[in-house]
């Protein structure tokens, strides 16, 4: 009797929880529904509404080198370059931190942790002033270097945590055979922490792909702009806003990061490694 009562209560609770979640989901989905429906709608405006007939005109209109391909290519060069630099530097830096005890490790890691939580937005004005003086303003390489530096603290922190998970014994054999640090890092440690490296890579890339303020400040020439900044053009210079095209562009621009997120989420068995990593 008590058991069925408890089961009843559980089922009711499940229904209540489902209802609660669905309410939140409905509220959250509205802006997303707008972007999908408007992209297919020949007469899109600002409201969520069923499209007046489905069309791919909006995609057709934006898939030009001017509007879409050049900014996406710029994003790719910028974020790809910076991600590569971040991951290589982070892997190299994490290795001695994880493998060799030194009294400098602790202060270094504490500084890294401190830098991880600094509001990067705040230093963009001095970075701009500095970049003007050293002639790095409006250059892709300058922006790549700054992007990498801003992402490095968290990348090193994550990378070290993943590296700590690879047992040291596996390398010791290689060391006795005369392998150097660099060899044991590239041949033994990194392959064993493949998922960890993937997480750091994807996470860095996604963060930079979506970042607006850094390229907005450091790049000036329109044909160097990544998609995160060029999307602004839909409002500024093109006169009347074509909402359908704006929606279509938003979808094209967002798809890569959503796919990458799905990729790492799968790889980690649906778990959330970053949450775990920042929790310590």
């Amino acid at each position: 009797m008590a058991a069925t009562h408890l089961a009843d209560r559980r089922r009711n609770r499940r229904l209540a929880a489902d209802a609660g979640l669905l309410t939140v989901a409905a509220a959250f989905v509205l802006p997303l529904a707008w972007v999908v429906l408007s992209a297919l709608d020949p007469h899109a405006d600002l409201r969520v509404k069923p499209p007046d007939g489905v069309t791919l005109e909006n995609f057709d209109a934006i898939l030009t080198s001017d509007i879409t391909f050049t900014p996406l290519l710029n994003s790719l060069i910028l974020c790809g370059g910076a991600t590569l630099l971040t991951v290589v530097c982070a892997a190299l830096a994490a290795y001695p931190l994880s493998r060799f005890g030194s009294r400098l490790n602790r202060p270094f890691l504490l500084s890294i942790l401190f830098a991880t939580s600094l509001p990067i937005t705040a230093i963009m004005v001095p970075v701009y002033a500095l970049f003007v003086q050293v002639d790095l303003i409006d250059t892709l390489q300058g922006t790549i270097l700054f992007f990498a530096a801003s992402q490095l603290p968290f990348a090193i922190w994550l990378m070290k945590n993943f590296m700590d998970g690879v047992p040291k014994e596996l390398e010791e054999a290689a060391w006795t055979d005369g392998a150097g640090s660099l060899q044991s890092l590239t041949r033994i440690v990194l392959p064993l922490m493949g998922p960890g490296v993937a997480v750091v890579t994807v996470f860095s890339f996604v963060m930079m792909w979506g970042n607006f303020f850094v390229p907005f400040m450091l790049l000036l020439t329109p044909d160097q702009m990544p998609a995160s900044v060029s999307i602004n053009e839909f409002f500024g210079n093109r006169g009347m806003v074509a909402y359908g095209q704006l929606a279509a562009f938003s979808i094209v621009y967002s798809t890569p990061v959503i796919l990458l997120y799905v990729l790492i989420a799968r790889r980690l068995g649906g778990g959330f490694a970053l949450g775990g990593a920042v929790k310590g």
Binding site: R13, D18, G20, L21, V48, P119, A129, L145, A149, I156
Partner: protein, 286 residues
């Protein structure tokens, strides 16, 4: 230091150079130009002005307005919104059926993964006068209004909740998952209701996660720029101008780099204080 340690520390060099040149350098430079009257145009030399910029700031109504708005934005969107909604979602997910859980999680996470500017546009469309929110209110025969004009700071706060809740949800899902089932089941059999279990058992057990999550949310929210920029440009007037937007306006629209940097330095200091507290929370980990 002996030669062996030097060789071992060698791989840290590239990262260290990047961090010193592009992160520590600008921060030090920031600390310097905040005390000068550096301007963007028409001035060959800048001179040292001491605390003048900070004195100006604390007498500047627009600055105090920005501080107040930053506070409202952070408390409403981060402390209350993201944190509470994230916890509620995580708690509901523990009881909900799998398809609903997957669906809701997927939607909330998609909002989080979207690039900042895209999120800004979607919420701009949602809150605009001709937008979805007013269309819904019309359907329910409730009065509509121009949200981005009348309540811009609340509109951008809600936007930040929409965009940022997933992080709290994931952190709390992980934290709740670590609570042993026996404990909650024992309390349930003893007849403790949902709220009492939440208050007396769950919350004390996940308090470390709550601390870390609040800290990270706050730091994140403190530096939001793109979302607000896209939705309101800080306007109308300066009704949604938080500190990052104020800093940008002073430095670039008004060409007062020194003054803008002084504001940036204050922002960095607030961030540093939070950062130190966060490190204390994690103190046992390093």
């Amino acid at each position: 230091m002996n030669r062996r340690s030097l060789v071992r520390a060698l791989p840290v060099t590239p990262a260290l150079v990047l961090l010193l040149l592009f992160l520590a350098g600008p921060i030090a430079y920031c600390a310097y130009i905040a005390f000068t009257d550096l301007q963007l145009t028409g001035q060959a030399e800048s001179s040292f002005v001491g605390f003048e910029n900070f004195r100006t700031a604390f007498q500047d109504e627009q600055f105090l307005n920005a501080v107040w708005l930053t506070l409202v934005f952070t408390v409403v969107s981060s402390l209350i919104g993201q944190n509470t909604l994230g916890l509620a979602l995580a708690a509901l997910m523990q009881r909900a059926s799998k398809p609903v859980r997957t669906l809701t999680g997927g939607i909330v996470i998609t909002a989080w993964v979207l690039p900042e500017v895209v999120a800004g546009f979607l919420l701009y469309a949602f809150f605009r006068k001709e937008g979805t929110l007013n269309a819904l209110l019309d359907l329910l025969h409730l009065p509509s209004q121009n949200w981005l004009f009348t309540l811009p700071i609340l509109a951008v706060s809600f936007a930040n909740v929409w965009r940022g809740t997933a992080f709290s949800m994931l952190v709390y899902t992980a934290a709740l998952g670590e609570i042993p089932k026996e404990i909650t089941e024992a309390a349930e059999v003893d007849g403790a209701g949902g709220w009492r279990r939440m208050w007396h058992i769950t919350l004390p057990m996940i308090r470390r996660s709550i601390g870390t999550n609040l800290m990270l949310n706050t730091l994140q929210t403190l530096s939001v720029f793109g979302l607000i920029w896209v939705m309101t440009r800080g306007g109308p007037g300066d009704k949604s101008q938080t500190l990052p937007l104020f800093m940008y306006e002073q430095a670039f629209q008004n060409s007062m780099i020194g003054y803008g940097t002084a504001v940036a330095l204050l922002l960095l200091l607030v961030g540093s204080v939070f950062s130190v507290v966060y490190m204390r929370l994690l103190r046992t980990e390093v």
